[in-house]
Symmetry: C3
Subunit: 152 residues, 3 copies
């Protein structure tokens, strides 16, 4: 596997870089929202870190990330049928000196239940990621989520 | 009218393509939210298809699309005065082999009534469009909306 | 200080222009949401205008903008601890003949209180800005906000 920095070409094209990150998130979030836990975990680097809240330990590595995702979902929804949709907003992307991308964005989650057109919305969070380019594709090396209600 | 594929030039510029689609949606949604039904319908191809829900028949052609929009609004709000705002998120854009664009995105609708600063929000839906370029402008050839609460 | 029009180079790159505006808003909104009033005001031109609602007088100049922001926050939240997150959507960007950028977008505000994962969401507004490029950076020359509930 070739590890590339973002710096070569893409970083120079501000429009392409920003669009690439948005497309990456749109594809990654579809896996998250469909609870395809292993495919979601595969969008992280093999040694990726996922810290969904300051109040729980971070998951290290793809197997731990997939397991944490499933456990959190079962804890919250049990066997209840829901459609979850993560929304991202106010995305900032910056290229670090080492060639990794640092991103920061707001999130909200809309949760819909059968036959009820009114979703539950929340929590509101701030997320920071480190993204790297491997074999031409973006991967998440680290994600740290701070839910606003736990940030005081 | 010249029918063009997206492939020529624009598809090669990932940043421009993504921005162009976002601008197209921002302009199209203003017509939708202002209930300018005929102008909204004119953002579809003449043989455009609009399927606002799996539970109702799709509208075929601009006249049917405009009529369906007005009928749905009257059914839901009657003569009540509201401001509707459609929000889109997590947009994916891909160029198909035939040069059309396939898009997929989440939507929510915020509905505000006079003097009440708290909008009603919902439903949450997933939308898939086919877009084509005609005379340099994007048009929607097909839109299929699946509201989450009807997706189980 | 060099005053530049957007026209030189950036306007010709539709993807870069749209991304640049989105990044500008993401940075500006972080200052707004953190209530860093003077830094927020410094993202306006020195003679900038901020009209947060048709029902109140517009603030003219950076000192007035910073003061108006703090006063509005105190009026609404007093000493209550909250996290505010402004969300923007359906952004339209157009280059005017004089080289300034005109933008139009929807906004919502999510307000979270300690330990409560359910944010208050609202009001829904439509914002129009004029942006100019100074010394290579975007600044807001004018912002006019129309909350939907006051727009009837």
């Amino acid at each position: 596997m070739t590890v590339q920095t973002i710096g070569e070409g893409l970083a120079a094209d501000e429009g392409a870089l920003y669009a690439r990150v948005q497309q990456f998130y749109a594809e990654q979030v579809a896996l998250l929202d469909d609870l395809r836990a292993e495919e979601f975990a595969a969008t992280f680097t093999e040694d990726g870190v996922f810290a969904p809240s300051p109040s729980v330990p971070a998951a290290h590595g793809r197997a731990a990330i997939a397991a944490a995702l499933l456990a959190a979902h079962e804890r919250r929804f049990r066997s209840e049928e829901v459609r979850r949709r993560h929304w991202y907003n106010m995305l900032r992307v910056s290229v670090r000196p080492d060639g990794a991308l640092h991103t920061r964005y707001y999130t909200l989650v809309a949760v819909t239940r059968p036959w009820n057109p009114v979703p539950d919305i929340g929590p509101s969070s701030v997320v920071e990621d480190l993204l790297v380019l491997r074999d031409g594709a973006l991967l998440t090396r680290e994600r740290r989520v701070v839910p606003d209600h736990l940030s005081f």
